[in-house]
């Protein structure tokens, strides 16, 4: 099957002479739940921003549905690709519903406010992440985890085909972390939503995720199913940590570092 998105020999650097992404080529399979893992500073967030079109590769190209992402008009891209950033803090007390409604802006003409249909879509997105009760609350009063849920709802309101998330489980409690993973899996199963999730939360991956990509120092060093990647030898290489240990318990992979 044609991948929904792909990186072809992508290189990127924020400052000249300091490459962050080094010749990465990977294909995000359509309708799959994928994780992007790696140590801090290995380039995961940068790679996701490249897929989101927020950064442009210095060399190589990002392809979305067989066409260069750069050739897609921004609004059209925003209808196809949603991105949840790592930092969801806000300076102004917008209500959660106002935040989620911005997810409808790619569908709304510049000088028109969102209509009833958009509001219903936003409420449904909030309900999907079990955050409907937060709709009227100012986001500045929400906890980090609650803000994260609102940000995910905003991305879902875009009705994307590809959902990119940068550490969405950071700040979420045990219940909501598991709930988020289940929601992503459900969206994959019911709507065919493809997700690429940057995460340090390796326990989130197994058994719900389909594919895992591992970066080390800006290079793709491993890819495969969770069962193939979440093993001592591979993780030791990815994280450059010989103390990583894994164990299969009740169909899940437990991971820790001594």
């Amino acid at each position: 099957m044609t991948p929904i998105a792909a990186a072809r020999a992508v290189e990127f650097e924020y400052l000249p002479g300091a490459p962050v992404i080094r010749g990465v080529s990977l294909e995000v399979p359509t309708g799959k739940l994928c994780a992007l893992i790696g140590a801090n500073g290995c380039g995961k967030s940068t790679l996701v921003r490249l897929f989101a079109g927020l950064l442009a590769p210095r060399h190589g190209e990002i392809v979305f549905q067989s066409a260069p992402l750069g050739s897609l008009p921004r609004r059209e891209a925003a209808r196809q690709i949603a991105y949840v950033p790592q930092n969801t803090a806000m300076a102004f007390p917008f209500t959660a519903l106002e935040v989620v409604l911005t997810g409808r802006s790619p569908y709304t003409p510049r000088f028109r406010f969102e209509d009833e249909n958009d509001r219903a879509c936003a409420m449904e997105a909030l309900a999907t992440v079990e955050a409907e009760h937060l709709a009227a609350r100012p986001v500045t009063e929400l906890s980090g985890g609650e803000r994260q849920m609102v940000a995910v709802a905003r991305a879902l309101a875009q009705e994307p085909q590809l959902l990119l998330m940068d550490e969405p489980s950071a700040g979420l409690d045990l219940k909501h972390r598991a709930s988020l993973a289940r929601t992503l899996a459900a969206l994959r199963d019911t709507r065919g939503l493809t997700s690429l999730v940057v995460t340090h939360d390796l326990h989130l991956i197994d058994p719900l995720f389909d594919s895992v990509f591992a970066l080390r120092r800006g290079e793709l060093v491993a890819q495969g199913t969770p069962a193939e990647l979440l093993i001592d030898t591979v993780l030791a290489e990815v994280y450059e940590d010989q103390h990583v240990r894994t164990r299969r318990v009740d169909g899940r992979t437990m991971i820790w570092s001594n």
Partner: protein
């Protein structure tokens, strides 16, 4: 594997599934737990326009000498006073107040900083240096009918913008944090430069500089106003054009980018338009403080956070506010006239604090 077909994607106008209709009804519920209702931009515009009309009428009537309609019909002196002094002054206050408040609202969203205001860009500081230099050297000439002090202030303002822009642009992108910091530092340097100029010049000119710094709306006739309008109206329209982009940018730069906003282009354009607006207003009215900071917050407190409402609301309330401040400046200690810049602080500060007290949950500051 299932895929997303077009019927599942709900572009505006598509049929509402039953669940969506139910959600829509829930979204429209009233308090408590009522989500914010549909933004009422026209209601906001109507209310604030009515306020602007009322405030303008009172300001036209009030002064050291009140002017009634019958006097306007019968008395030539009253007509001259009204059409040559009072009306232009009210219009000038409206133009400057509207511009400063609009820029304040735009910059607060652009920088995602509730404390940003027109002075943030360093424009008012640069303008002050230009004006202080012109006053200190006694440049009384006019350029195409425009006083040299205005020209010098505008040039100073634009020079400050260029410096701030150059410093903030590191590499291919402009960093809002660096822009903010560079603007604040340029303003501090400008303040020191103005103080030095005041110290070096004679006392009469130092007093003139001080009066300029406090801000004044003295104007005779409509010549200056027509010239200002050529700059201001296109800039207002351009900033209002970016309302939705600013609404998205206020949520975060990456979020806005992911929602289809060309962030770099927007930041550049908003910076440029704001600089032009502030440059013109500072050149003509001096550094009138507080309007750009408090008016957008007052609009937010009264009408909600949506920038598509806050921007036009700030334009109208800024105009009404500065007209009211100027009328107060003329009337309170009549025939002595207070500096309008002092009144904006004395009048606006407490009103803003009251609004803040009334809405405890407002947590933007």
């Amino acid at each position: 594997m299932s895929s997303v077909d077009d019927s599942q994607r709900t572009q505006s106008g598509a049929a509402l599934p039953g669940r969506r209709r139910a959600s829509a009804r829930r979204a429209g519920q009233k308090p408590g737990g009522r989500p914010e209702g549909q933004p009422h931009v026209w209601r906001t515009v109507l209310i604030l326009t009515a306020l602007l009309v009322i405030v303008s009428a009172v300001a036209l009537w009030a002064g050291s000498q009140t002017i009634t309609l019958s006097q306007l019909r019968t008395d030539a002196l009253s007509r001259t006073l009204f059409f040559r002094l009072r009306l232009p002054r009210v219009v000038m206050a409206a133009l400057i107040g509207a511009s400063l408040a609009l820029v304040g609202a735009a910059l607060q969203a652009l920088f995602r900083n509730p404390l940003a205001d027109p002075s943030t860009l360093g424009v008012s500081g640069g303008g002050a240096v230009g004006a202080a230099t012109a006053i200190a050297f006694g440049w009384a000439a006019r350029v195409s009918g425009v006083p040299m002090v205005f020209v010098a202030a505008f040039c100073g303002a634009i020079a400050a913008v260029v410096v701030v822009h150059k410093i903030a642009r590191t590499g291919p992108v402009m960093l809002p944090g660096a822009l903010l910091l560079a603007g604040v530092v340029v303003n501090l340097i400008a303040s020191a430069a103005v103080l030095t100029i005041q110290y070096m010049t004679d006392s009469e000119r130092a007093l003139q500089i001080l009066r300029w710094l406090i801000g004044s709306l003295d104007v005779v006739g409509f010549d200056t106003i027509w010239r200002m309008l050529i700059f201001l109206v296109p800039c207002w329209i351009a900033l209002l054009f970016f309302s939705r982009d600013l609404h998205l940018l206020a949520m975060g730069e990456e979020t806005a980018g992911a929602l289809g906003v060309n962030v770099a282009r927007c930041e550049w354009a908003i910076h440029l338009i704001s600089s032009l607006l502030v440059g013109v207003t500072v050149a003509v009215g001096g550094a009138i403080a507080f309007v750009g900071l408090i008016v957008p917050h007052a609009v937010r407190l009264l009408f909600g956070q949506d920038l598509r409402i806050v921007l036009p609301g700030s334009l109208l309330l800024g105009a009404a506010f500065l007209i009211a401040a100027d009328a107060s400046a003329r009337v309170v200690l009549s025939p002595i006239e207070l500096p309008v810049g002092a009144v904006t602080g004395l009048l606006g500060g407490p009103v803003f604090l009251w609004l803040l007290y009334r809405r405890q949950r407002y947590s933007a500051l």
